[in-house]
Symmetry: C2
Subunit: 471 residues, 2 copies
């Protein structure tokens, strides 16, 4: 049994800076007090241990407080992507069996439309309710901490159940790889509803270092924070890093910035080479939601020698390649998909997580991610699953067949493109509007191509990699 | 299930320096190869998973190799204090049910006298035997790693069973407190048969940093290594540090030395003040075998402000005070005493380890160790238990009653002193010789006082704290 991490941290190093976000600059003591107050309030409103609580909030101090408060109560966090449409949100709320939705002002209108008991997170204050006695602040590592939705081949997102242990081991494995310095400060400009953002919050508490949270990604603001806030570690995806470099111009980053952790899919060689030339300490990483973020990371000492590699597994995770697929085993592998034993059994076998991503190990054991699975398009760091878009397109009466694949995109790395076999006349604009009602903006195909038939194998399976030949 | 730590480390960072000891300077790859060879040899000689294997070797590369090789085979290590007499060794061998004794040349003679199958560790070489397949290199954290003997109130040492998990959590808790730098190098001049020395070896592998092992403590050699080997962390006890400072003279330590981890009982204020004056980065720690070494450690930032404190518990360990006694709970607390459920039940209750040591928490939660338990004398970092010495004295026919307590000692901090009620004439020299046959040298009373009676309470319990009044 573990004592609540934030409580433990606040008792160990109460005066260290915990969070810098907007106007807020809170020590661990202050963060702990605010979390206690919000937890008391949530408790008074009926949020109990074991309850699934969805969170629809933008990055900010209220979201940070809410996430820690829910953990403290033993509630299971269901972080929702704020870019989803009401239809997508409704699906995840129903599937996760969320009992409550915690939202901020920016999402008040959509929240009210979702037919679930809502709590306005921004408005939460201490209601003077005291929490249960401290003994309830203990939890086992096997306890679920969060359910994070990730789409897949089935076209419907699946909820990856991540335990406190999954997150703990991820934090420890990362520290053993990147090291841990007394002056470390980690900048989170990724959404906290993604596992990569959430992981930074938890690391801040486990490591006892400040987390700088940006409300959204603005390359100028990020560059300024690196200078002014003495940021030492920042997590980014390729498109973010590209925009940071463009906004930065020729001015070098300060030496205090020791690690630019680059995730979100294979990075373009051009970007890595530019970083090497400019002395940006980029550290490539490969991870996925089902393994609580980082799986393999290039050690800083190898950053130049193994450019393009995602490095080696984090201690004590193991990685192997089987039929070109990357397999992962270790204590960060999820407990399973929420109420989906079939899907869980398909991807976790003998303790090995079958990622579906293609990769290879070189003769020194360095992982190269060759391609994310063929049904995955990574656009600006967001995972986009063709099957999900195809399912929406197929629900339109004029669409007979639909195939979606990724096209290279200057800004986002990749963008989805749709190939349609019509059964009745329909214009591209109408299909785009149809998608916009049902899919988050980053999932809407950037391009529609009408064709006579789709490439399929003998068994009738769609061959997505061959779609681009039809353009 | 975890992959063998050294194997994992060797696959992650094969070329990093792992060990510097005497002439040996081995990378993790080389250490792993030597461990594989020795494990194969031990396996061929019948050492199997689960076997208890006692080790009687002085600090050195062969001992380091042997300890890792035994872990790799899944054998349980019983490290023996090389200062024990044959009688004491025989007792621990029998109690631990050791199947084999691994010894070096220096202990060949005594080993042969112990009536247990012996293996000369120095002479082990690869016999060309291949190990079982890699799947057997996996182990659960709950698996016993070592049984380390620690004496106690009963007069007989008890074997603390420490699991892989106990050692793992200890290493992680220490890293979260002290930080982890890419250039860290930890100097081990403590005996590796103590938990504090053994812990350094395991940390080296888990952290991926070099361990510098000295064959014995020599203050001049230690000071030179700090300069020449770029040592960043060193573990010492008070008497060692005192002698290092004396040998060093006015010359400051290099700034690379960032942590002098000071354990082995409360340190004299004078020593701490001298360190503060001279800028020696001393970090006080409190630990015990039953909790796999460090329990609480003063964070570097508090070293001056909280001089004399042992700091706060390592994440995620909890410490509390009950009736002035220090209680410890967390994943470093031993699995129990080997085949001694009664003793285990006495000290581990509800997950809380009752240390027997007296302490207090100040209003900021910093631990002050007021006194080790009244039956413990810490002499030069070695734990000496009065009951054990009293039992030996009482076995002499001329001794009617015996009481032992600690006296302040210029060199060793404390030294045992005996108070004897005679039933027949016996000289001090005879009692000293009698002890020397049965007790390690550091346990032999520095002083014998013959008295008419011993101070006892109404129930007849010896009041050791009052013995010194009889001098």
């Amino acid at each position: 049994m573990f004592l609540d991490w934030l409580r433990q941290r606040a008792s160990l190093t109460p005066e260290r800076l915990a969070l810098a976000c907007g106007e807020a600059r809170w020590s661990f003591r202050e963060l702990d007090e605010r979390v206690t107050a919000m937890a008391g309030d949530l408790h008074a409103r009926g949020v109990a241990a074991g309850a699934h609580v969805a969170v629809l909030m933008r990055n900010g101090a209220p979201l940070v407080t809410a996430l820690h408060a829910l953990s403290r109560l033993g509630a299971v966090i269901v972080p929702l992507n704020t870019r989803l449409t009401p239809a997508e949100l409704r699906w995840q709320l129903a599937d996760s069996q969320a009992a409550r939705l915690l939202h901020d002002d920016a999402h008040a209108v959509v929240a009210q439309s979702l037919t679930i008991p809502c709590v306005a997170g921004n408005g939460l204050q201490s209601s003077g309710i005291t929490l249960p006695p401290p003994s309830s602040l203990h939890f086992p590592l096997s306890q679920p901490h969060s359910i994070i939705y990730t789409s897949g081949t089935t076209g419907q997102p699946k909820g990856a159940v991540l335990t406190f242990g999954n997150h703990w081991w991820s934090a420890i494995g990362s520290a053993l790889n990147l090291g841990l310095h007394a002056d470390d400060r980690w900048l989170a400009c990724l959404p906290l509803f993604h596992v990569g953002g959430l992981a930074i919050l938890l690391r801040g508490v486990i490591y006892g270092i400040p987390v700088i949270v940006h409300e959204s990604f603005d390359p100028v603001a990020v560059n300024a924070a690196i200078d002014d806030e003495r940021v030492t570690i920042i997590s980014v995806v390729g498109t973010m890093l590209q925009r940071m470099l463009e906004a930065r111009g020729a001015r070098p980053y300060p030496p205090a910035l020791r690690c630019v952790l680059l995730g979100g899919g294979p990075a373009p060689g051009r970007l890595l080479e530019e970083c090497a030339r400019r002395g940006v300490p980029v550290v490539q990483t490969y991870g996925l939601t089902e393994a609580a973020s980082q799986v393999a990371t290039l050690a800083p000492e190898d950053a130049l020698r193994k450019l393009g590699s995602a490095g080696k597994p984090l201690f004590p995770t193991e990685v192997k390649i089987e039929h070109d697929e990357i397999l992962v085993r270790g204590p960060t592998v999820m407990a399973g998909y929420w109420q989906n034993p079939e899907a869980t059994a398909r991807v976790v076998r003998d303790g090995w997580l079958h990622t579906g991503d293609l990769g290879a190990l070189d003769d020194e054991g360095y992982l190269y991610v060759l391609d994310r699975r063929d049904d995955l398009i990574i656009s600006g760091g967001e995972n986009v699953y063709p099957a999900e878009i195809e399912a929406v397109l197929l629900s339109h009466p004029a669409v007979a067949e639909a195939g979606v694949t990724g096209l290279a995109d200057e800004v986002w790395g990749m963008a989805p493109a749709a190939f349609i076999v019509r059964r009745a006349a329909v214009a591209e604009d109408e299909l785009r509007a149809f998608c916009a009602e049902r899919l988050a903006r980053y999932k809407i195909p950037a391009r529609f191509t009408f064709v006579d038939s789709l490439p399929r194998n003998a068994a009738g399976k769609l061959l997505r990699r061959e779609l681009t030949r039809l353009m």
